[in-house]
Every structure is written in structure tokens, then in C-alpha cells.
Symmetry: C2
Subunit: 109 residues, 2 copies
């Protein structure tokens, strides 16, 4: 047990859940907000601004990169991270569509 039964759900359900999981930790939310709001997006800056160890930040960055929300460009010894705009927009659409429902069941509950 303890293993999510992905195979019994639709691709859409699994995709929504995967995207939501990327946003489901405050450190990753903070990382994304920092990348969005600052003009620089150097990994080391994130370590300074967020109070977590370098290894931890790097791990969260990898998760965000794996799901495609950010991408990293090597600049000398540093890495500049930024939002992958295409994937971000797609993610926004998928989640918005899921959240955007018009109530039909005014008689229920």
C-alpha cells in the first residue's frame, strides 16, 4: 500500500494532480514567486532569500524543472532559472478549467 493507483484514473485527473503537487509545497510556491517577481533568477539567490539549505532548494528546483514549469540556463558557474512560459500557460489553462465550474445542483445538499 501507500502507492497511488494512477491506472484507475483518467489522464486528465492524473495530470491535474501532478500539476497541483508541484504547487503543493510552500517552498516551491516561494521559489516560483521569487522567479516571477525578481529580474534575476539565480539559484544561489533563492537559497539566500528562502531559509532552506542549498540541497533542499536544489531538490525543489529539480521537481519544478521535471514537471516543466521552469527551465534553467547555465551562466558560468551559476544557473539562471526562469518560468517556462508555454508550459506555465498550459498548466494555468488545465487548472483553471478544472476550477471553473458553474453550479448546476442548486437542489443538492
Amino acid at each position: 500500500m501507500g502507492l497511488t493507483k494512477s491506472e484507475i484514473f483518467t489522464n486528465e485527473q492524473n495530470q491535474i494532480a501532478s500539476l497541483a503537487k508541484a504547487f503543493a509545497h510552500p517552498a516551491r510556491v516561494a521559489i516560483l514567486q521569487h522567479i516571477i517577481n525578481s529580474n534575476t533568477c539565480i539559484c544561489g539567490d533563492l537559497v539566500d532569500e528562502i531559509g532552506l539549505a542549498q540541497a533542499t532548494i536544489s531538490q525543489h528546483l529539480r521537481e519544478l524543472k521535471n514537471i516543466g514549469l521552469i527551465k534553467g540556463n547555465i551562466e558560468g558557474t551559476s544557473v539562471c532559472y526562469c518560468i517556462d512560459e508555454n508550459n506555465w500557460t498550459e498548466a494555468k489553462h488545465i487548472i483553471s478549467q478544472f476550477l471553473d465550474y458553474e453550479s448546476k445542483n442548486t437542489n443538492c445538499c
Copy 2:
């Protein structure tokens, strides 16, 4: 370790992460979609329609109820679950606002 350091993040960051966590499992996405799309929202129907044990569905329902996305009304021996429209709308706004960013850094990366 293994404990999220909530205290180093803003309330907004923690709130976004908590909401996202509710959507971060396909079973909960499926439950919400079923509640939204069907006219009935009886717990037992969800157990039949989704291929998970009754205890597991009940556990997911509790998580969704705890965060306020759904509410349950007792109807005889069954429980009718439905979306908490006010909280759902609020959650939608919080997440949409987070996802809705206009790119400023065309020169970055």
C-alpha cells in the same frame, strides 16, 4: 526532518500550497469531478464509481471537507456531499491569482 518549515513562509504561500495539496491526488480530483458532474453526491456512489476501498474514499472526503472545499449533509444512513461554493470560489481566486502572471523578464534566460 521530513517536516515542512511552514513558519519561514508567508501565509499566502502556505495557503496556496495547502489548497494545491487538496488537488494533488487523482482520487480527490475524481471525487470533486463526480460531485460536480452528477446530480447525486452520495459517498457510496463515489466508492462504486472510483475503484478504491470505502475507507480510502472516506479518508479523501475528510481531507476535502477539512480544507473546506466540500460539505456533507446526512440523509438517513447516507451522506450527501457537495461543493462548498463560497470556499470553492475563494480557492479558485487564490490559485488563479497565483497562476496569472504577466511576463516581465523577456531578457532573462
